[in-house]
């Protein structure tokens, strides 16, 4: 492997087109005869539709058609949920693409208007006459599970979508023998993912051929194609799904959405291309949200800080319907990570997935792991405070020691490799933790209280072995694929099944090919996101593209190398066993001057004038890679905050992030991923929350009220790393897309609560707005003896 290419921070080749505005997103596309769709969405969180009349809208100027559920009966099936969580009594309510009789969240689609322009369609929406009989609504998952709560779906008692349990070890014994038990009630508030590009679909159905082409803002075009065939009853081979440039997803572009299917339906019905692009308002109301847990957590420990067990109950709000992958997020991706980086003898968690009158909840960057990490990391700090130990010492006492090839944990997973103590130590010494603690001891300066917050974490990435996918009810595989094709001039095309949308794999995958085969990454072009010209793949989410797809690519490059070696041996008139390969050159052992480059071989293989006997022409290979295990990146983060006790305002002063994702293909891209991830996690701790009012209206309905992180509120992020290769990945890499988000919410929260400790505050609801912090300080003062 050439270290020159692998591991070098070359610039992202995606960026010139992204930052000069020349990238082509779905909404940039215009087709001949294209019409525009606008969705009429429910203004009620819960209501019965008593009447609906589209005739005035249909007659409005420029309007082509208007449809309601009745028009789609038999032509559009409900949007499917594709994660059938086993052993959970899962109850899936029909998610009709156009609401049937009842609307269940503000944003549920009631009708669609198709017109010659988007403006005409929007104007006509106001002419659709809908009668609603409002019904009581419920947003809080715990309240929705309580007796007497408004019921969303007739056939589903108590709004319970599922009850899932993870248990390992003897948790009751652990609590019985505990010398200390600490507990907390934690609210993981609802978040809005806020991809920069809103969602869109452009559907073009050709009646003459029966073929449907869909340009769609998706993280997984192959899954969309498959689900489209089911929902619209079209043959899969007649559907082509293209994810053109996609401006971020963070999980919100995994699902196959009702609005997309409605757009496809319109195109099919009208025989014209139809485009729909959501507004930011629709994005807030109807594109999936994240988190929404009410967690009741208890940790059992000995007086010396040794943890014995964790017990918790989680009410996870699912929203009004189950989104495509939703049931797996608060369960598999959450519960299995409960023991974290610690030697934890016993855990038990009960997760109740609850229907509420909120927007459906899906994966959001980190997807289940931030919620698990937060619970555990918060408990470690609460335990430290109770025992008057330093949070770093409590962690160190319980960290799993270094392991290189497999470590079984109580939740039944086998972590691949890790060196958690090294990560923690490196962060502490880099940050001068002892010095910071000394400064903190000196007391507040000018009313500003210093706080330090740690989070040590491990996450599950590289989803995953397909056999496991089947066992956990994921209705698909989780392998990835790659094709590598050399052209006569030595230039390379790579085709992958995954679908990057901002992460930078066009660059890092070119680096993989470059380092495996000695070609200039500039000469490698990576194709993705088009079901007609890429091999099947399951998509980009869960930090899996490099962890799984990158492995497929590396193995494919090695197949090419093997074939090239055979051809080189033939051309050099030597035995294959005597051939050596180094940096793109094939030569007979001991005679590197007489060599063939990969370019020479690409030319020969393509013209095929002089091939070894029995060797096919062409230089191309493919791999379908099903990983033997997940990967388990890990790290340690430290946040340093100041809290202004007078106003409750929190300032993040320093942030140190150590993430170990194995060997780094491109450290600049790794750093970028860490930055983005950390910032989104800080956003949850300090600013972000989707707030609904009593009636189920989304109060934070725009960016005027929903507070996204801003550059001027953040310090420079100090990015560190250690390198612990995954033993089972051909390149040792693990995944970095979500790491930052997984640790940072807990680190910042812990830091703020550490600052507030001298003021007697032990719990504050996130986000930690000045008012909440100020109120908590006041309450603590009042209740102080």
């Amino acid at each position: 492997m050439s270290t020159r290419i692998f591991g070098s921070g070359i610039r992202r080749r995606e960026d010139p087109r992204l930052i000069t505005g020349s990238a082509t997103y779905t909404d940039d596309l215009t087709l001949p005869r294209m019409a525009h769709a606008a969705m009429l969405r429910s203004p009620h969180a819960h209501a019965r539709i008593t009447s609906i009349d589209t005739s005035r809208a249909a007659a409005a100027p420029g309007v082509v058609a208007a449809y309601t559920h009745a028009d789609t009966e038999g032509a559009v099936a409900p949007a499917p949920c594709a994660w059938h969580l086993p052993d959970s009594d899962l109850k899936m309510a029909d998610y009709h693409c156009l609401a049937k009789d009842v609307v269940r969240y503000v944003g549920d689609i009631v009708a669609v208007v198709v017109a010659e322009s988007r403006y005409a369609a929007e104007d006509a929406l106001e002419l659709v006459d809908v009668g609603y009989e409002p019904l009581p609504a419920v947003i809080d998952p715990e309240a929705a599970a309580a007796e007497g709560a408004p019921q969303l779906h007739d056939e589903i008692a108590g709004n319970q979508a599922f009850h899932w349990q993870v248990a390992g070890g003897d948790v009751d014994a652990a609590f019985a023998e505990a010398e200390v038990v600490v507990s907390d009630r934690i609210i993981q508030q609802r978040l809005i993912p806020n991809a920069m590009e809103p969602r869109a679909a452009l559907a073009s159905y050709t009646r003459a051929t029966g073929e449907l082409t869909v340009w769609n803002t998706t993280q997984n075009p192959h899954i969309v194609r498959f689900l489209t065939s089911l929902v619209l009853g079209l043959s899969e081979d007649k559907i082509r799904v293209i994810a053109p440039e996609v401006g971020g997803g963070f999980g919100s572009k995994i699902a196959a959405y009702p609005a997309d299917f409605v757009t496809m339906f319109c195109s099919r019905k009208l025989g014209r291309p139809v485009k729909w692009t959501e507004t930011r308002t629709e994005n807030y109301q109807a594109t999936t949200h994240g988190r929404d847990h009410v967690q009741q957590v208890e940790l059992a420990a000995k007086k010396d800080g040794t943890v014995l067990g964790l017990r918790c109950t989680v009410h996870a709000g699912m929203g009004a319907y189950l989104s495509t992958a939703a049931p797996g997020i608060p369960t598999i991706l959450h519960g299995l990570m409960l023991s974290g980086v610690y030697t934890m003898p016993a855990v038990r968690e009960d997760v109740y997935g609850i229907y509420t009158n909120g927007t459906p909840v899906e994966a959001y960057r980190g997807a289940g792991r931030p919620e698990a990490t937060f619970m555990l990391e918060r408990m470690m700090d609460v335990l430290a405070a109770r025992l008057d130990m330093d949070p770093a010492d409590v962690r160190r006492k319980n960290l799993i020691p270094r392991f290189e090839d497999g470590h079984d944990v109580v939740t039944s997973l086998t972590y691949d490799s890790g060196d958690y103590p090294a990560a923690l130590d490196k962060v502490l010494s880099h940050a001068d933790y002892a010095g910071l603690r000394a400064r903190q001891k000196a007391g507040p300066a000018n009313g500003a209280y210093l706080g330090l917050g740690l989070a040590t974490y491990v996450e599950i990435c590289g989803l995953g072995p397909s056999q496991v996918a089947g066992a956990i009810g994921f209705q698909g595989g989780l392998w990835e694929s790659a094709i590598v094709r050399f052209h006569p001039s030595g230039k390379v095309h790579v085709f992958i099944g995954a679908s990057p949308h901002g992460q930078g794999e066009e660059t890092t995958f070119a680096q993989i090919v470059g380092s495996e085969l000695g070609v200039d990454p500039q000469d490698v072009k990576v194709f993705h996101g088009d079901t007609d010209n890429t091999p099947m793949g399951w998509g980009t989410y869960g930090s899996r593209t490099t962890a799984v797809g990158g492995a497929a690519l590396a193995l494919t490059a090695r197949k090419i190398r093997d074939k090239a070696k055979v051809i080189a041996a033939h051309l050099l008139e030597a035995a294959v066993e005597d051939m050596e390969y180094e940096d793109g050159k094939f030569f007979v052992k001991g005679a590197p001057d007489q060599h063939k480059t990969i370019g020479d071989i690409a030319l020969m293989a393509n013209v095929a004038w002089n091939m070894p006997k029995g060797v096919e022409a062409g230089l191309e290979a493919s791999t379908f890679y099903d990983p033997p295990n997940f990967t388990f990146p890990f790290g340690a983060h430290l946040a340093v905050v100041e809290v202004d006790a007078e106003t409750g305002a929190v300032t993040l002063k320093r942030y140190v992030a150590l993430d170990d994702c194995g060997p780094q293909i491109n450290p600049v891209i790794v750093e970028g991923q860490v930055h983005g991830g950390v910032v989104q996690g800080v956003g949850q701790a300090l600013w972000e929350e989707a707030v609904y009012d009593e009636g189920g209206q989304l109060v934070t309905g725009s960016m005027l009220d929903y507070a996204l992180p801003r550059a001027d509120l953040l310090p420079d992020i100090e990015v560190l790393s250690t390198v612990t290769p995954s033993p089972h990945h051909p390149l040792g890499v693990k995944g970095i897309g979500e790491a930052g988000t997984i640790a940072s919410t807990a680190a910042v929260y812990n830091a703020v609560l550490d600052a507030l400790r001298p003021l007697g505050v032990s719990s504050v609801r996130m986000p930690l707005t000045p008012e909440r912090v100020w109120q908590a300080i006041r309450d603590a003062k009042k209740s102080a003896p």
Partner: protein, 306 residues
């Protein structure tokens, strides 16, 4: 996010704005568009016509003459924040303009649009009230000047008549030695003011002389904090005196304050003194004693002939 239909006209002079306004009843002026266009896109406003005033040269620019700064209505927040004249003669205005929204908002939004729109969470009304600004207004029958004190009447309500056009904002230049400051608690999402406090203070003989304190963000329209001014005036500006005076702001706040999911009325009420205190402290730091009266001398060195 799709505005309803409207007709579009562009005016090239102030006179033409007037003609167009009279011709198209209900028409709205379009300046930077950063308050008006969001209203259109949310379909909260549906004027039949927009009159674009954005290219009228006579409404742009900053000049100083006769003890006042004249700022054309179309001058952007960014231009005000960057102007050396404003920095020299109305530093609190420069500071406030510099913390409006974000760079995009500051590059488009105009001072005329800001004051005409009179959003309670705006920064400029608060600071212009503190500095004793007045607005030059073109009306159907000529020009008039409206002092800031009578201009901002209520939430989104000003003294402007239907055909009135703000042409410029006049700000008295700061007297020598006056310290000014603008202190803002920003909403983390919109960046509008949750509370904004402006202070302009002079020192005479080491004591607080003329002092003006105003407050916005938490009230429907910017107000003067008379109780604070009274409490501080004539005092030696110690930290305690400032804090005590700032606490008096509660007397200036009516019973109904603005609150939202980010910051309740109760929280804003509790923070008003903090914000005022910080504005005063900063302003006093920048004030320098002028016309210092000779200090009372101790008898031991008093010349014997006196």
């Amino acid at each position: 996010m799709y505005a309803p239909d409207f007709a579009y006209y562009r005016a090239d002079s102030v006179a033409e704005i007037g003609r167009l306004l009279r011709k198209h009843p209900g028409a709205k002026l379009l300046a930077g568009g950063h308050s008006l266009i969001p209203l259109l896109k949310l379909r909260l406003a549906a004027p039949p016509a927009l009159i674009d005033i954005g290219r009228i040269g006579e409404l742009k620019g900053i000049s100083v003459a006769d003890g006042r700064l004249r700022i054309g209505a179309l001058t952007t927040h960014a231009q005000i924040a960057a102007s050396s004249e404003v920095a020299a003669h109305a530093p609190a205005l420069a500071a406030a303009a510099g913390v409006i929204g974000d760079p995009a908002v500051r590059n488009r939004g105009t001072i005329g649009g800001n004051v005409a729109h009179a959003d309670p969470a705006s920064d400029l009304p608060t600071v212009l009230l503190a500095l004793g600004a007045s607005f030059a207004v073109a009306t159907d029958d000529g020009e008039r000047a409206i002092p800031a004190g009578g201009f901002f009447q209520d939430m989104m309500t000003t003294a402007l008549g239907e055909h009135d056009i703000v042409t410029a904002v006049d700000v008295p230049t700061a007297p020598e030695g006056q310290g000014q400051a603008y202190e803002k608690f920003s909403h983390p999402a919109s960046r509008y003011a949750v509370i904004g406090a402006a202070a302009a203070v002079g020192l005479t003989g080491g004591k607080v002389g003329r002092v003006v304190v105003t407050l916005g963000g938490l009230v429907p329209a910017a107000i003067r904090a008379g109780s604070v001014e009274q409490a501080l005036s004539g005092q030696a500006p110690s930290a305690d005196a400032i804090a005590d005076a700032a606490a008096a702001v509660s007397n200036d706040l009516g019973p109904d304050l603005i609150g939202d999911i980010y910051a309740s009325a109760e929280y804003r009420r509790a923070m008003a003194p903090v914000c005022v205190k910080r504005a005063l402290t900063a302003a006093l730091k920048r004030a320098s004693s002028v016309a210092e009266a000779p200090a009372a001398r101790s008898p031991w060195w008093k010349p014997s002939w006196l």
